[in-house]
């Protein structure tokens, strides 16, 4: 279980990294925290000829306040978010989600951008940032562009990234006053990848209501009709039958156990979003 030989460069400027990646699009891979790519290299599931380490690009570690949203650098680690190093108007959600990602050693190195680019359906950020309506700032050889996270993830381990393009930052809308969120993850033991995630954000001030089922076979699924109903009639309106119907419509074809787990994750998230039940 040793990686095949590769060349390694660690540029300090994003433009240089993009130039290197674009110069050998089939052979080069960007390295962020390495918590997924590292094992894949060792298992020889990934055998890039060139590894472009983004770790020395300081700009990617910055977190900026941009009025109605935060711009979180792609290389901000899970641990940084867990430790609330930056003040975020997210109701504490990112810190809470980060706390349950893998275990601390992984969180110390793993990054928010790396996780999203890897696009493992069971990873937390994919679901948490989908329910928060995050957008991504991408940078590539043809310049910069923004994309909604929902459009970014095309399926399991598949994204809209173009050759040579990397995630530069996560654009996180600020939650309004009175916003509530809930995030319920089912996994076999702490630190394991999730079997099911239910996530809810109700932000009446911004007229936003989102319910998302995560840890599916592909991208997280949005249950928008159910969210609209909950926004107008309250969480109690999502009775089990309504919720099951909404889940079946959004995610058809689940096996009975998977369907049960996703329904329970959503139901428990909704239970917790009732006033006073935030977690």
């Amino acid at each position: 279980m040793k990686a095949a030989a590769f060349d390694y460069v660690a540029p300090t400027a994003l433009e240089e990294a993009i130039r290197l990646l674009a110069g050998a699009p089939d052979e080069a891979k960007p390295l962020a925290g390495g918590q997924s790519l590292g094992p894949m290299l060792n298992l020889r599931l990934a055998m890039p000829a060139l590894l472009v380490d983004l770790g020395r690009i300081e700009a990617l570690r910055r977190v900026e306040d941009r009025g109605d949203h935060h711009a979180i650098g792609a290389l901000v680690t899970h641990a940084t978010l867990e430790d609330r190093i930056h003040r975020l108007a997210d109701g504490g959600m990112l810190a809470r989600v980060a706390r349950d990602i893998a275990y601390r050693a992984v969180r110390n190195r793993g990054t928010i951008g790396g996780s999203l680019a890897h696009a493992d359906p069971a990873a937390d950020w994919l679901t948490a940032l989908t329910v928060l309506d995050a957008r991504l700032g991408l940078a590539g050889p043809d310049g910069r562009r923004d994309i909604a996270l929902a459009d970014f993830v095309r399926g399991a381990f598949t994204t809209a990234l173009r050759p040579g393009e990397v995630i530069e930052r996560v654009l996180l809308p600020k939650l309004g006053a009175g916003a509530r969120w809930a995030y319920y993850k089912i996994c076999r033991k702490p630190g394991e990848f999730a079997e099911a995630i239910g996530a809810v954000v109700l932000d009446p001030g911004r007229r936003v209501a989102r319910i998302v089922a995560g840890a599916l076979g592909g991208a997280p699924a949005r249950l928008d009709d159910l969210a609209a109903r909950v926004a107008s009639d309250g969480p109690a309106s999502a009775d089990p039958e309504t919720l099951d119907r909404a889940l079946d419509a959004a995610v058809p074809g689940l096996d009975p156990v998977g369907r049960q787990l996703h329904a329970v994750a959503l139901r428990r998230a909704l239970d917790r979003i009732a006033p006073g039940g935030m977690s």
């Binding site: 279980m1 040793k2 990686a3 095949a4 298992l43 089912i186 033991k189 630190g191 156990v257």
Partner: protein, 790 residues
């Protein structure tokens, strides 16, 4: 002659482990820590398919001299582990595949390079052409006529069937209560922290091949390696350095050991292979997989009248040396009645070949399976007669008054009070409290359950037992050498192996007890065939009984000789000399062992004329007076909460009441039990190597093979009983395996107790959330098919 406890380091002392200083400071020395000039690495090309004909193995151009196939290994014999049991079908286990591959992960070619990474590059460059053959990966399907054959010449897939033909008909037609169940245990990997590793080099000075290997049984490996390589044992030295866990995985001769040894022997170049985790999970998925069909007959009170069982063991493709393909089934058939009085017993066992890695005995050896089967059956009977499961155990356990007790299968239980362990466990877990709590719904909707399991752990079973199992290498007298150093210290040499169980401490404690020296001046030496007397090694919970007994006996011989010289120096009658506090006391004065040692080694002119010329070194062999085994036992009681919506299980409380006879070091007994119980929790709830329909193992990293960690293993509450064995030195019984035996039975009984209101029963390990949920969802639909892994 036996010493007082004045050293504070004798038998029974709760001593911190002497070996821990180096382990805790990261200074242990394992195979992969050894550096040598020019050391090269081996990586194995392993079969990607479970069953296939080999059409071609071709080294990349220019690398022909560093890629080795079966036909390149001149002089190497296949591993042959023949069982002496009648009807056994032998399997030659080629150290590199020959003609065909029989399991995914089987070594096919050996690639040699300057580094492991470069060796893996070579592996990727080798051309391997295979023609797929139909695999057989389900043990029950493998028993059916027409199943694909692992060994075509056999005509079927049965290594062996055995039959205990009890007269079950005498109860089957009349018993008022009949309970029939099927149970399954999944295939596991033993997952020692340190994987397997082997390093070999040629030593010109001694004209010897030196094989440094992570093993529990260095002397046996010497014997097995010499046979496979065709060299005299005098030209082979086996060293086991620090070994980071064995659990049975390291008590067999592995093909990689033979390959690496052959390479060093023929190339005269130091070379090593260090197993990685993926290799372990794929090629080392070799244990625990049993299937049971059990019918129990009982009276209306729940008293057992008879037991009728069919046990199938998924042995994999080959027979392992020296424990063979049939030890597991022999153990299962002999131990299924467990600690209970079973008047009539019929049992058929099937050791079935499949396209999986060869089955090896794992901590507990078959008993986690039989304990699981009998304990779930006891609970099923309790439900059938409407009684408290604890009551049923009280009714059926072998009572203390019956000791020593010989079971229906001939197991001779030497001593103990099984009902007392049950009673104490019930008190500690608070049976009435749990029953009262179960009457009220939990605020979080979870369901509370209590589960019990009582087992016996045969330890240090000796010559006759192993001979009856048909094992090619049978243990006899265990020897230890003790030697006083010229400055009055003590060296203890044993051929068994410390693999983490603290023998460097406990054996020193036994010597300390006899010779009244503090353990601080006692050094236990093991792990090298050149430095220690022969031993079959560390397995079957035998080391503390066997090596401990031998250390005791040889120390006693030295004590006599020391007293005699001491008496001469004190000018008193030897009968008046007494050993205490590291000194020999006479009626008027005393002399230290250090002074006596100096006289023997450096001032022999002061010795008595008739001194024992054996001097201050003794080797004595030991075997218990009755060597059918000293039986430890325990009751485990588990309190769990099951979330019926997710299938998640939380262990709320876990109580162990164990009795391993005289405890040499209670803290080490506790450590053994905690560690074993953690592995048992893994069996019960987490660990599984699933295979898909094509015979591919699905867990190749620890992300897929779920091990219990710090958050899954609860604080285990451990209580001791202490019934010395009447047959062993100091009344010691072995305890290394026991912790791992009961958790599957106790935990799944607890889960079933929690789910009893839903009418759901789990009969399969691991009881994963997915299995539990599937069983709950299948309620009323009549489907109870086993659930594929998550």
């Amino acid at each position: 002659m036996s010493g007082t406890a004045s050293t504070g380091t004798g038998i029974g002392a709760r001593l911190e482990r002497l070996e821990d200083a180096r382990f805790l400071h990261g200074k242990g020395s394992y195979v992969s820590d050894i550096a040598m000039p020019g050391l090269m690495d081996v990586a194995f090309l392993r079969s990607p398919l479970p069953h296939a004909r080999i059409d071609r193995i071709a080294a990349p151009e220019g690398a022909e001299a560093v890629v080795f196939r079966n036909e390149d290994l001149t002089g190497v014999r296949p591993i042959q582990a023949l069982s002496g049991l009648p009807g056994f079908k032998p399997s030659d286990f080629p150290v590199l595949a020959r003609g065909k591959v029989c399991f995914a992960g089987q070594p096919v070619a050996m690639c040699l390079a300057r580094s492991r990474a470069a060796a893996e590059d070579l592996v990727q460059a080798v051309t391997l052409d295979l023609t797929e053959l139909p695999p057989v990966t389900d043990m029950l399907a493998a028993r059916q006529p027409g199943a694909p054959l692992v060994h075509e010449a056999w005509g079927d897939n049965l290594f062996l069937t055995t039959n205990v033909a009890g007269d079950i008909e005498t109860v089957s037609s009349t018993a008022p209560i009949v309970v029939t169940r099927e149970y399954r245990m999944s295939r596991q990997c033993m997952s020692p922290l340190e994987g397997k590793g082997v390093l070999a080099y040629w030593d010109d000075r001694h004209d010897q091949l030196v094989v440094v290997t992570s093993t529990q049984v260095p002397h046996m490996i010497r014997t097995g390696l010499a046979e496979c390589l065709g060299i005299e044992q005098g030209r082979l030295r086996v060293i086991a350095p620090d070994v980071g866990g064995g659990f049975g995985y390291k008590c067999i001769l592995q093909p990689e050991e033979v390959c690496v040894a052959w390479l060093a022997l023929t190339r005269r170049h130091p070379v090593r292979w260090i197993e990685d985790r993926r290799e372990h999970l794929v090629a080392g998925a070799n244990t625990r997989q049993h299937h049971y069909r059990v019918t129990a007959y009982a009276d209306t009170e729940g008293r057992l009248l008879g037991l009728d069982a069919e046990v199938t063991v998924d042995v994999g493709a080959f027979s392992v040396w020296p424990f063979t393909a049939c030890l597991e089934a022999a153990q299962a058939g002999g131990n299924l009645p467990g600690p209970y009085v079973v008047p009539i017993y019929r049992c058929k066992t099937f050791s079935v070949a499949t396209n999986k890695p060869p089955f090896s005995p794992y901590r507990g050896v078959a008993r986690p399976g039989v304990c699981f089967a009998i304990e779930l059956t006891i609970d099923a009977i309790a439900r059938a007669v409407g009684r408290e499961p604890a009551e049923l155990r009280r009714l059926n356990l072998v009572p203390a008054s019956a000791m020593p007790y010989t079971t229906i299968t001939g197991k001779h239980y030497d001593s103990g009070d099984y009902p007392a362990s049950l009673a104490l466990a019930l008190e500690k877990i608070d049976l009435p409290g749990i029953r009262a709590r179960q009457k009220q719904p939990e605020p979080d909707g979870r369901l509370i359950g209590l589960g019990l399991a009582t087992y016996t752990e045969q330890s240090a079973h000796g010559t006759k037992v192993f001979a009856s199992w048909g094992i090619p290498l049978v243990p006899g007298f265990e020897q230890a050498t003790v030697r006083v150093t010229p400055d009055g210290g003590l060296e203890v040499r044993v051929g068994t192996q410390s693999i983490g169980q603290g023998l460097e401490t406990t054996l020193a404690q036994i010597a300390s007890q006899i010779l009244t020296l503090p353990t601080g001046v006692i050094k236990v030496i093991h792990g090298d065939t050149a430095l220690t007397p022969f031993s079959t090694g560390a397995y079957a919970s035998r080391s503390i009984v066997m090596a401990g007994g031998a250390v005791s006996r040889s120390s006693a011989v030295l004590a006599t000789r020391l007293a005699r010289i001491g008496a001469h120096l004190l000018q008193c009658d030897p009968a008046e000399a007494r050993l205490a506090d590291g000194r020999v006391y006479g009626p008027a004065g005393d002399v230290s062992l250090k002074e006596i040692a100096q006289v023997w080694y450096l001032r022999p002119e002061q010795l008595p004329e008739d001194v024992d010329t054996g001097g201050l070194e003794a080797t004595v062999g030991y075997k218990p007076t009755v060597d059918t085994g000293a039986f430890s036992y325990a009751t485990h009681a588990a309190k769990v909460a099951v979330d019926p919506e997710t299938g998640m299980v939380e262990i709320l409380d876990y109580v162990v009441v164990e009795d391993c006879g005289t405890m040499v070091n209670p803290m080490i007994v506790e450590g053994q039990t905690y560690g074993g119980a953690a592995q048992g929790i893994g069996t019960a709830l987490y660990e599984e190597q699933p295979y898909d329909a094509a015979g591919q193992p699905l867990a190749s990293t620890l992300a897929d093979y779920v091990l219990p960690g710090a958050t899954e293993v609860p604080g285990i509450r451990l209580f001791h009983l202490e019934t010395p064995s009447p047959y062993t030195e100091h009344g010691i019984k072995g305890v290394g395996e026991g912790g791992a035996i009961a958790p599957p039975g106790a935990l799944i009984n607890a889960i079933n107790d929690a789910l009893s209101g839903l009418g759901v029963e789990i009969g399969e390990t691991p009881a994963s959330p997915r299995r539990i949920l599937a069983a709950i969802l299948a309620r009323g639909t009549g489907t109870t098919a086993p659930v594929a892994a998550a």
